[in-house]
Each structure stands twice: as structure tokens, then as C-alpha cells.
């Protein structure tokens, strides 16, 4: 009955109104097409503008010299623009981060998917999500205050701002990505494999290590690649702890040496460079290189996951991508390479570590035939449990450090007063308001565009070439490092469109950054609406748009809202995109119009932590407020999600 009422506007269609409504349908479809094409347009604009401002350096210095030039000294009397040390720095940091992160993540993922009881799972999964929700500038702040000091003291070196610090910190930041994607991969291995293996009399550990993990291997690979993408694209955290000397560690495995990544270079130098200079174009050249690297990384992860999804749905009988023999060889080579790298790094940390690990390893292999499967299983489960505990401990340490030190700073004045004495005294009111303005504007722009794009993708087209192009555009946008958005926003919105450093420029830049999240979550919730609902409505003679607006969208609203709030949380914690487009450090006033610059919490924290000595109290206060704000958004999103889930069930 309810159904009929919804569509009964269609029944009395005469000749003329029929034509009119066809026209209306067509124009609605066109509008949605443009919102969907927007992602592709943005990607091309980003590339275009980075190239426009970056290409002079490729002409002046030459692409090859730019890439392999051994020295980066843009402010020397004879400036040198070789980004080789920066590329190596990025590589080394990523490598170290993965060595730290992959074993922990895998252990944790296995624990969550195979060993945890439902109740423990219900604690662990949100904990991992929480780890993902901490803004990168807060990670950077924690790294700068706690981690670098810890490294300085433990290794007795003059400064802890090192490759090691950067790798550990970025490794921590990569944990949630790798854990959640590989946990998903392991959990979706068909249940029959597990039963088959256990029914043969394999132990749980044998089942995990010989059937489940191998079957989930491509998903785990994709997880690691996505983690690498996260690390390579990260700016603020690495900038705050890596020491930033543009040198190649000497010797190359000296993890206590400072180094500098591509992203950090942009973060540090973009603010001081004069527009149009050779240095300026060199920075855009770096952004181009960075963009290309991250695009390759993300597209390969997407390709692997895509292949997996097809394999899961396709009937059995298709040849696997890599023949099993070759696959074994690849896995073996990867293991050996990993082992060699690990040993080199261990040696670098302390001379006795490598021999000890080697000895333990060979003891293990020598003793293995004599150990019962039960003993092996016990030791493996111990390691897995330990990895999970370490991940939890990391989360607890970070949260408790910020909460314990931040609470004394919190007061009514702190959140209602403007800063004084460079932020050492006074409050952060303008920063809170600025951040809220920024995210409100960003979501106001991103929501219609993103929802429109998702509606087009799900409701108006079949999978084909057009959707493929659009999806690739969205994936590319999703993989673009936030600092690249910052540069693009500066070149395009601030300069080219002449908006100046302003609230508006920041809002647009952030909107572009969260657009893929909005599109994806909306797509997900639209896809969850059963096809039968649409068919039911169309069969009653409703038009496509009537069906979408009256039948499909209403039940999808909770999903869309959740996605929007998650995007807000993400945008609120970002620093790199607004650093050159929207913010000022200290302002006593709120902006009068969208063309004024604003203060923002993440940037305020960044400057307090790196440039203002003696602001310890207010640093922690700002970090805590930012953390609470972001986590608050996430909590609301989760509450919305569960609320509607329960309602639709009950």
C-alpha cells in the first residue's frame, strides 16, 4: 500500500507530460553524470597544474639530473636540485616502517580473525579503528615529544630525530590499514577450507599457517601495498621526527641518521619559497614524482583487490594469476630478502642483535622436528598474542600520554579565548572555530558532488568503460597524498583562481580530499539496497528518478550520513592540505568572510610543537582538543551506524 502511494504521481501521464518527464529524466541523469565526471576532472586538473608549475625544472635541470642528482641544496649560492637523496630517504623510511609494521599487523590480524573470542573482537576492532582515527599531526607531536626522546636516551645520541624514529612512527600509522585489510582477507577465506584442514587432523596453527594465510596472500599483499601508500604519502608526522637532513645515511643502513623524504621537503619548503622561482618549480617537480609513485602503488593494490574479488565470485576452474610453482619461488625470494634486510637493520641498531636473532632462528629450525605440533602451536600463538598486545599497548601509550598531559591545560578559558604570546598563553578558540568552518565548508561541497557521483555509478550505468574511468579517477584521488592536494590548492585556487590564502581555498581543497570517501561510502550503502526494491518500484511504472529519490535513497541515508561524518573527522585532522591554502598561525579574530584566512587546530599544534619553545602545556591541550574533536566525529558516525542497523533489524 505504502508503495503505491509513493509512485501514484505517474499514473495520469498524458502525451505531453510524458515527453516532459522524459526530458526531466534525461537532464537529471546528465547532472549526475557531471558530478561523477568531477573526480576525473579533478585528477586531471591536479596533474595539469602540478606539471604546469613543475615542468620548468625538468627543462632547466633535465629530468634525469633532477631524479638522480646527488644533492638537494635549493638555497645554496649555486642551487642544486637533485632529489635522489629525497627518493632514497622516502624508500628507506618506508622500508623501515614496513619491517616494523608488517609482522605486528599480521599477528594482530590473525589474532582478530582466528583466535579472538567475539567479545575480544568487539574490543579490538574499534581499537584498530581508533588508531586509524588519530590525526597525523598528533602522531607527529607524540613522535616528537616522546618517541624521539626515547630513542635519544636509549641509543645515547645527540638527537632522536632519525630514520628510526620516522620508520617506527610511520609504521605505527600504517598498522590500522594493514591490520584491517589483511584481517578482512583472512576472514573471507571460505570456511570450508578451514573445516577441510581441521578434519584432516591439522592443528589450528597448521591450518592458519598452511591454508588460511596462503589463501589470503593476495589480500595481505594488497594490505601491505596500501600501507606502503599510506607511509609514502604521509607528510606531517615524518616531517616532525625525521631530522630532515637531505642526506643519504652513511653507511646506508645507519638507522640513527636523520633523513628527509619527498613529502617532508614539500611541507618544509613550500611555505618559504617565492612563487615562480626555480625552487618553486622544483618543489612542484617533486610533487609530480611523488604523485606518480603513490598512484602506481595505489593502483596496484586496487588491481590486486579487484582480481581477488573476481576470483571469489568467478566459478572455479580459472587459472590462478601466478602459477603455484612461480608463486612459491616469489614467496621464498621475498622471505630471504626480508631476512637479509632485517639482519642488516638489526646490525645497524646494535652489533649483538643480528647474531642473537640468527642464533634463535637456527635453534628454532634445528629443534623443530623434535618439537610436537602442540609446542609449535603454543609458541606461534604466544607470538601472535604478543603482537596484538604490542599494538594495543602502542594505542594506550599514545592516548594516555596525550590525555594525561593534556587535561591540566583544559579550562574554560583555553577553549574560549584567543591565543596570546605565540600560543604559549591564552586559548585556542579561533583555531577550534576555524577548524569547524573548514570542515563544514568541505563537507558542504563534497557531499552533493560525492553522493551525485555515487548515484550515477550505482543507479544510472552498467559497469563499462565509463564507470571504469570514473572508478579509476576516484581511486587515484583516494591515493593522492594530502600534501599534493595542498600544493594543488595553492597553485590552482589560491593563485590561479586568485582566492588568496583563505577559508574558501581550504574548504575546497579539503573537499577534494574527502570526495573519494564520500563517493565510496555512498556507493556502498546504495549497493546494499536490495535490487528487488528498485524492480518493485519500476514495475509499478515509476520513473528511474522517482524510484531513486523515493525508494532507494531514503533507506541509504544512514550509510551516507555515516560516510559524511567519517569524512568530517578525517578533514578535521588534516594539516598538509590547508597549510598553504587557508591557515595563519596566530589570529586574534575570527574570519569575516570566506576570503579571510583562518586558524586551525592541526596547524596550530604543528607550529606550537615545532616552532614555539616553552609551550608544552598548550601543545598537549591543543593535541587533546583535536583528538577529542576527531574521535568525537568518529564516535558519532559509529553511533549513527549502529543506531540504524539496530532499527532496521528490530
Amino acid at each position: 500500500m505504502k508503495f503505491l502511494k509513493k509512485v501514484n504521481g505517474v499514473f495520469c501521464a498524458s502525451e505531453g507530460t510524458a515527453r516532459l518527464s522524459a526530458l526531466k529524466e534525461q537532464s537529471i541523469k546528465t547532472i549526475f553524470f557531471f558530478t561523477a565526471a568531477f573526480a576525473v576532472i579533478v585528477v586531471s586538473f591536479i596533474l595539469l597544474f602540478l606539471l604546469r608549475d613543475g615542468y620548468p625544472i625538468f627543462i632547466d635541470v633535465g629530468a634525469i639530473n633532477f631524479l638522480i642528482g646527488p644533492e638537494w641544496a635549493p638555497t645554496a649560492a649555486e642551487p642544486l636540485y637533485g632529489i635522489y637523496p629525497l627518493i632514497i630517504g622516502t624508500l628507506l623510511v618506508t622500508l623501515g616502517a614496513m619491517i616494523f609494521s608488517v609482522p605486528l599487523s599480521l599477528g594482530c590480524a590473525i589474532y582478530i580473525s582466528e583466535l579472538a573470542t567475539p567479545r575480544i573482537k568487539a574490543v579490538l576492532k574499534p581499537a584498530v579503528e581508533l588508531l586509524a582515527g588519530i590525526p597525523s599531526v598528533v602522531y607527529g607531536f607524540f613522535g616528537l615529544i616522546v618517541l624521539t626522546n626515547f630513542i635519544r636516551v636509549s641509543f645515547d645520541i645527540p638527537t632522536g630525530e632519525t630514520w628510526l624514529a620516522a620508520s617506527v612512527l610511520l609504521g605505527i600509522m600504517a598498522l590500522p590499514t594493514i591490520i584491517s585489510v589483511s584481517e578482512d582477507a583472512i576472514s573471507s577465506v571460505p570456511h570450508e577450507y578451514k573445516e577441510g584442514s581441521l578434519a584432516i587432523g591439522a592443528t589450528r596453527w597448521q591450518t592458519i599457517s598452511r591454508v588460511l594465510v596462503p589463501a589470503a596472500l593476495s589480500g595481505i599483499a594488497a594490505a601491505v601495498i596500501l600501507g606502503i601508500g599510506r607511509v609514502v604519502g604521509e607528510t606531517m608526522a615524518v616531517l616532525m621526527v625525521a631530522g630532515n637532513a637531505a642526506i643519504i645515511p652513511d653507511p646506508i643502513w645507519n638507522i640513527l641518521s636523520p633523513l628527509r623524504t619527498l613529502t617532508a621537503t614539500l611541507g618544509i619548503e613550500m611555505g618559504e619559497v617565492s612563487v615562480g622561482s626555480e625552487h618553486y618549480s622544483a618543489l612542484f617537480g617533486i610533487a609530480v614524482v611523488l604523485l606518480i609513485i603513490t598512484l602506481i602503488i595505489n593502483l596496484s593494490a586496487v588491481a590486486i583487490l579487484q582480481h581477488l574479488r573476481e576470483r571469489r565470485t568467478a566459478p572455479a576452474g580459472r587459472k590462478p594469476l601466478i602459477p603455484p610453482g612461480t608463486r612459491q619461488k616469489i614467496v621464498f625470494a621475498a622471505k630471504m630478502l626480508g631476512l637479509a634486510l632485517l639482519l642488516v637493520l638489526l646490525t645497524a641498531m646494535s652489533w649483538w642483535l643480528a647474531p642473537v636473532v640468527l642464533l634463535a632462528g637456527s635453534l628454532w629450525f634445528a629443534g623443530r622436528p623434535f618439537m610436537s605440533e602442540n609446542t609449535i602451536q603454543k609458541s606461534a600463538f604466544c607470538l601472535i598474542g604478543a603482537a596484538t598486545l604490542i599494538v594495543l599497548a602502542i594505542l594506550l601509550i599514545i592516548l594516555s600520554d596525550i590525555v594525561i598531559n593534556g587535561i591540566p591545560a583544559l579550562s574554560w578559558e583555553f577553549i574560549t579565548q584567543p591565543p596570546m604570546d605565540l600560543g604559549r598563553a591564552g586559548g585556542i578558540f579561533p583555531a577550534i572555530v576555524g577548524t569547524l568552518y573548514l570542515v563544514a565548508g568541505a563537507i558542504a561541497i563534497a557531499l552533493p558532488l560525492g553522493v551525485g557521483a555515487a548515484i550515477y555509478l550505482v543507479e544510472y550505468t552498467r559497469e563499462g568503460r565509463i564507470t571504469k574511468v570514473i572508478r579509476t579517477g576516484v581511486d587515484l584521488l583516494n591515493g593522492t597524498p594530502s600534501i599534493v592536494f595542498g600544493l594543488f590548492g595553492f597553485a590552482f585556487i589560491v593563485l590561479y583562481l586568485n582566492a588568496g590564502v583563505s577559508l574558501l581555498a581550504g574548504q575546497v581543497t579539503l573537499a577534494l580530499m574527502v570526495l573519494p570517501t564520500v563517493i565510496r561510502t555512498t556507493e556502498e550503502s546504495l549497493k546494499n539496497i536490495p535490487q528487488s526494491l528498485r524492480e518493485g518500484s519500476l514495475a509499478l511504472g515509476a520513473t528511474r528518478w522517482q524510484t531513486i529519490s523515493k525508494v532507494v535513497i531514503p533507506p541509504a541515508v544512514p550509510g551516507i550520513v555515516t560516510g559524511a561524518i567519517l569524512s568530517i573527522g578525517r578533514a578535521a585532522g588534516e594539516t598538509a592540505p590547508i597549510m598553504f591554502t587557508a591557515v595563519v598561525f596566530s589570529s586574534r579574530f575570527l574570519p569575516d568572510s570566506v576570503l579571510d584566512p583562518v586558524m586551525a587546530l592541526p596547524y596550530h599544534l604543528f607550529i606550537l610543537a615545532t616552532n614555539v619553545p616553552g609551550a608544552s602545556m598548550n601543545q598537549y591541550g591543543t593535541a587533546l582538543v583535536l583528538l577529542l574533536l576527531v574521535i568525537g566525529f568518529y564516535a558519532v558516525a559509529i553511533m549513527v551506524r549502529t543506531h540504524f542497523q539496530n532499527r532496521s533489524r528490530g
Binding site: 567475539p118 571460505p190 570450508e192 577450507y193 578451514k194 573445516e195 577441510g196 584442514s197 581441521l198 578434519a199 584432516i200 587432523g201 591439522a202 592443528t203 597448521q206 598452511r210 591454508v211 596462503p214 589463501a215 572455479a316 576452474g317 580459472r318 587459472k319 590462478p320 603455484p324 610453482g325 622436528p369 605440533e373 602442540n374
Partner: protein, 253 residues
């Protein structure tokens, strides 16, 4: 029953989060014979089968009372290792579930997890298992291909070979032919006939003819209870219970 029993259950009860799925089942499974379990859908055949190798342990909120013995040993005794039990009681599932590995690695999986490393020994076991499962001739030239490339019937025989390679005492089969065509089905039925020389087979089936053809003993289950159990010939020709007769003759419900 005259034959010696290998598995006995005594007053076995099972609850799935409160739902009573097996009600005081007491039965004897004779050694080196084929026992068929029949009964309407949802009556608890799979559940009973999965009790014998304690695969129900994997499911949350399962409560079991009563006793199951294998070779006069209580399989729920704390001293008994469930891995050892499953080594002795192999299982073939309704849907073929080869691992996403090569054909060779699928069959070698069991021996490997039980500690056999010697390549020649493994080769021998793999060949023997595949021959036993009447699959050897079809796959001997492609042992290194993925098992997922086999047809459904071949996959099911591979799963049987995989089970045989562990040399269990009992083989549980849960509707092993339900996804197969008549030719593959008859291959597997012949196989079961051969298997009983060395193994005890318990097979769940919805196919009356199949039960009559392959089994020596038959148990009829209804709503979680074992209604009656005895020699197949007797159950099919002179059932003592009216329920059984109705079910077998198709006059049900």
C-alpha cells in the same frame, strides 16, 4: 548387530544455542562396514556426523551431553587430543573443498602436517591416495596444476584422496554426491564399496537408492532422534517403525 562396533554413542544430546538438535541418540557404528544416515532435511544428520570428529567444537554456543566412544575411548575425555581424533576420523564434505593449492599439495597436505617430509614417501602416498580415489589416471600428468581447475566430481574425489592419504580409521561423508552428475556419483559409489575393506564409512545421503546400494547398515533420523538403526536390507524391507516406512516409501508428511 553382529559386527563389532568402532564408534558408539550413548544418550547423546546436542544443543545449538538452546536449540535441541540431537535428542538422546544411542547407536553403534560397525567396523569395516558402510553405514548410511538418512532422514528429512534438518533432522540432524550432519550434526551427528560432525560429532564424530568433534567438528562442532568450531561453532560457538554448542552444548553436548552423553558419550561418544571411538575404539572404546571417550572422544570427549580431557586426555584425548582432538587433533589425534581427527587424524583417525576423516571427513568428506557436501561441497568439494579442495585447498587453493596444487593437486599434489592437496593430497600431500595431511601427511605433511603429520610430519612426513621425505619426498619419495610423499610421492608414494600421493599416488596411492589418488589411485585409491580413482583419480590417478585423470590427473597424473597435471599434479602441479591448481586443484581449483578440476571438475566438481574430480574435486570431490580429490577430497577423498586427501582424506585417504592420512589413513584414517573412519571416513565421514556428508552428502558427498549431492553436487555431482550420475557418472561421477557412480564412480564415488564404487569407491565407497572398495573403501570398506580398509575403512569404516559413515555416509549421509538423501538418495534412498544410494543408501540401499552402498550401505550395509542404515540409520533413520527424524527431528533430532535416531528412530531406528539396523541392517540396510532389514530397514528397507521390514522397518519396525511406521515413520521409517513412511519416509522410505515417500509417504511422508
Amino acid at each position: 548387530m553382529s559386527d563389532a562396533a568402532i564408534i558408539t554413542t550413548n544418550n547423546l544430546n546436542l544443543w545449538y544455542s538452546g536449540k535441541h538438535a540431537l535428542e538422546s541418540v544411542s547407536m553403534k557404528v560397525p567396523k569395516n562396514r558402510v553405514t548410511a544416515l538418512i532422514g528429512p532435511s534438518g533432522c540432524g544428520k550432519s550434526t551427528l556426523l560432525r560429532c564424530f570428529n568433534r567438528l562442532n567444537d568450531l561453532i560457538d554456543n554448542v552444548k553436548i551431553t552423553g558419550e561418544i566412544t571411538l575404539d572404546d575411548e571417550n572422544i570427549h575425555a580431557p586426555s584425548l587430543d582432538v587433533v589425534t581424533l581427527r587424524k583417525k576420523v576423516g571427513m568428506v564434505f557436501q561441497k568439494p573443498n579442495p585447498f587453493p593449492k596444487t593437486i599434489y599439495d592437496n593430497v600431500a597436505y595431511g601427511p605433511r602436517v603429520h610430519g612426513i617430509r621425505d619426498k619419495n614417501e610423499l610421492d608414494r602416498i600421493v599416488e596411492q591416495g589418488l589411485r585409491h580415489a580413482a583419480l590417478w589416471d585423470e590427473v597424473k600428468d597435471r599434479l602441479d596444476d591448481s586443484a581449483l581447475g578440476l571438475s566438481g566430481g574430480q574435486q570431490q574425489r580429490l577430497c577423498i584422496a586427501r582424506t585417504l592419504a592420512v589413513e584414517p580409521e573412519v571416513i565421514l561423508m556428508d552428502e558427498p554426491c549431492s553436487a555431482l552428475d550420475p557418472i561421477a556419483t557412480s564412480k564415488i559409489e564404487n569407491l565407497i564399496d572398495m573403501l570398506k575393506e580398509d575403512y569404516t564409512v559413515i555416509i549421509v545421503t538423501h538418495n534412498m537408492q544410494q543408501a540401499a546400494r552402498v550401505s550395509d547398515y542404515t540409520g533413520f533420523m527424524y527431528l533430532g532422534k535416531l528412530i531406528e538403526c539396523g541392517r540396510t536390507k532389514q530397514i528397507f524391507e521390514h522397518p519396525t517403525e511406521e515413520l521409517t516406512e513412511n519416509y522410505i516409501t515417500g509417504r511422508f508428511g
